[in-house]
């Protein structure tokens, strides 16, 4: 008798626990997403409706706020989007090329001083950027690069996002060495091994690095803030901030419309590549 009763009690209890967990998780989901949904739905509402109703579904669905926001500054948001896109694409190319070269050198080549440079590279991962920020600015100022996109893009071609080197090093280490050895036997030099063996086998990590690189450049605020002074060359983040200052406090729906548009590309990337991104985060955390 007791044998029959105990499992059913514990099963009931575990059912209760499960229901409780689900309720908790759904509540958290709702609380976390509510601000975002409010932002998106408010962007379709006229201002007076944002203030009068807290419903997430607009009574009157209107795109007015988008056209008001798009042309709300002397330079249109279209320009900001093009600028951001251009900078982000160049950054992705730069990061992929330079970081994969460095990661290849650190994992596949036995050159003099390798461990020394590798330790320094890991050191830059931990080092806060503040120490180098001001002299970098002075350097770019003297080169005449301030108010151009060069200070934002050139560092990416010089593998200055050490995080991506680290990510690729972890991945390259998993590619069997026998492949390189066989290729060396066949007379391949390091460049051919890099192009013909390592890169084709590294599509997953290259994709992860590309997406993160795009998103971080897209979201970057500090570097554009100090290097870009002309409204014509603003990125979306700078444009949005200027918009808050100029008219945002009076026109909430236009502000939300532009905020939604600024987040949209990142959200789309997230929808398509969330598994890749999540795996990227998980592996950097684990394989230390």
């Amino acid at each position: 008798m007791t044998d029959a009763v105990t499992p059913s009690i514990s099963r009931e209890r575990s059912h209760a626990t499960r229901a409780f967990l689900y309720a908790g998780l759904i509540a958290i989901t709702f609380a976390m997403l509510y601000p975002l949904l409010w932002m998106v739905s408010s962007s379709f509402k006229p201002d007076n409706e944002i203030f009068s109703s807290s419903s997430l579904i607009p009574e009157v669905f209107s795109l007015d706020a988008y056209s008001r926001g798009w042309n709300g500054l002397s330079v249109s948001f279209g320009r900001f989007f093009l600028n951001s896109l251009f900078i982000a694409v160049l950054s992705v190319v730069g990061n992929l090329a330079s970081c994969s070269l460095a990661a290849f050198a650190f994992t596949r080549l036995h050159f003099f001083g390798r461990n020394f440079w590798f330790a320094l590279m890991l050191g830059t991962l931990m080092m806060p950027q503040h120490a180098v920020l001001i002299p970098q600015y002075v350097l770019f100022l003297n080169l005449g690069w301030v108010n151009t996109i060069l200070p934002l893009v050139v560092p990416k071609f010089l593998a200055m996002d050490a995080f991506f080197i680290f990510l690729m090093v972890q991945f390259f280490r998993g590619i069997p060495r026998e492949l390189d050895e066989a290729a060396t036997m066949d007379g391949c030099g390091p460049w051919r091994i890099y192009f013909k063996i390592i890169l084709p086998l590294s599509i997953p990590v290259l994709a992860t690095a590309a997406i993160f690189s795009f998103i971080w450049t897209w979201d970057d605020f500090f570097a554009p803030l100090i290097y870009l002074n002309d409204a014509d060359s603003y990125t979306v983040q700078l444009g949005l901030r200027t918009f808050v200052d100029s008219s945002g406090q009076s026109d909430w729906s236009a502000l939300f419309a532009m905020s939604t548009l600024v987040v949209l590309p990142v959200f789309v990337l997230f929808l398509f590549f969330q598994r890749l991104l999540i795996e990227g985060i998980a592996t950097t955390g684990m394989k230390r």
């Binding site: 050159f111 806060p128 503040h130 002299p135 808050v244």
Partner: protein
């Protein structure tokens, strides 16, 4: 016998000759190999020297000078540092704000991330969905758009106050322009982005062998005991990793405070993050020398924090080997 020795000698001579030739050949190819290797490293190496090492040394030098980007730097000795230590109330305010933010946001974020990760690891359906939804804020949280959103939620006529008014009939203040609450809205924004440490926790939880829990439950250990005796100790390396990364990140927080306070760090400096103060001194007031000193003080503080956490790790972080 003789013939065999002879043959062996001949063999030895042959290999020695081979080796000599190979050596001469290898020295050339050794150099060529080194050269090729360094050509892979070259972009990083240039960047490291020109954009990291050089600037780091140069900012150390600038921190002992008076410099405004126009005139040549003027050596002032340790004047900048002594002013930071004894004659700059805004520095101390910035320290207080930053430490409050770090001390509140990091543990809250990690505790929340761990709790949710443990719940998700119970083999529930919809794991992928929840994981993705919880991760989303981490991904978009750095955007100005989200800081703007936060500003509108906690404004006087914002979302929060409207909910409070309709549910409780309570008229809330403007949370972002009240000095006592402004910083806490930023802490909440940081905690909202608990997704990325949560994913790392989940990956860590996956690596704990399931049979340990089975053995423990046969021995009569309840869920709480299993969590305290198995999950938590085995997860300490991951907790440590997350804590270090999140602490460094929290010290660097900038965008949210900048957008919420219009770049001022207000109201009355209550959101004056260290990075924001640094930005104002360097790029608004153009006190480059002083800002360099501020930067180095921050680097040293973060360095001490990191060193202390690595030292403390040996007392609480559990490693298999």
């Amino acid at each position: 016998m003789e013939a065999r020795y002879l043959r062996e000698d001949a063999g030895r001579i042959a290999t020695a000759a081979d080796r000599l030739a190979a050596n001469r050949h290898e020295r050339g190819s050794f150099l060529r190999y080194q050269f090729a290797s360094y050509s892979f490293l070259l972009p990083w190496l240039i960047g490291f020297l020109a954009l990291t090492l050089g600037p780091a040394l140069s900012s150390l030098y600038l921190s002992f000078t008076d410099y405004d980007l126009v005139d040549t730097p003027y050596w002032v000795g340790i004047a900048n540092y002594s002013r930071i230590a004894s004659d700059d109330p805004r520095f101390w305010k910035a320290m207080q704000v930053t430490f409050t933010f770090v001390v509140l946001s990091v543990p809250l974020k990690l505790a929340f991330a761990l709790a949710v990760a443990v719940a998700l690891n119970k083999g529930l359906r919809g794991l992928t969905f929840f994981r993705a939804v919880f991760y989303l804020p981490s991904l978009i949280g750095a955007s100005v758009a989200i800081a703007v959103l936060w500003r509108q939620i906690f404004a006087g006529d914002g979302l929060l106050n409207r909910l409070l008014a309709s549910v409780f009939g309570y008229e809330g203040p403007s949370w972002i322009s009240t000095p006592g609450t402004a910083l806490y809205t930023l802490v909440l924004l940081a905690v909202w982005q608990f997704g990325s440490p949560m994913i790392i926790f989940l990956a860590g939880l996956r690596q704990i062998p399931q049979d340990m829990y089975e053995a423990a439950s046969i021995d009569g250990a309840g869920a709480r005991r299993q969590f305290l005796k198995i999950t938590l100790p085995l997860l300490t390396p991951v907790i440590f990793f997350n804590a270090v990364i999140q602490t460094i990140d929290a010290f660097k927080a900038f965008t949210s405070a900048f957008v919420i306070s219009n770049g001022s760090g207000g109201p009355i400096d209550s959101t004056l993050f260290y990075t924001l103060y640094l930005y104002q001194e360097a790029f608004v007031n153009f006190r480059i020398g002083y800002a360099s000193a501020l930067a180095w003080v921050l680097v040293v503080i973060i360095g001490i924090f990191t060193a202390l956490s690595f030292l403390s790790a040996r007392f609480w972080v559990h490693y298999d080997d």
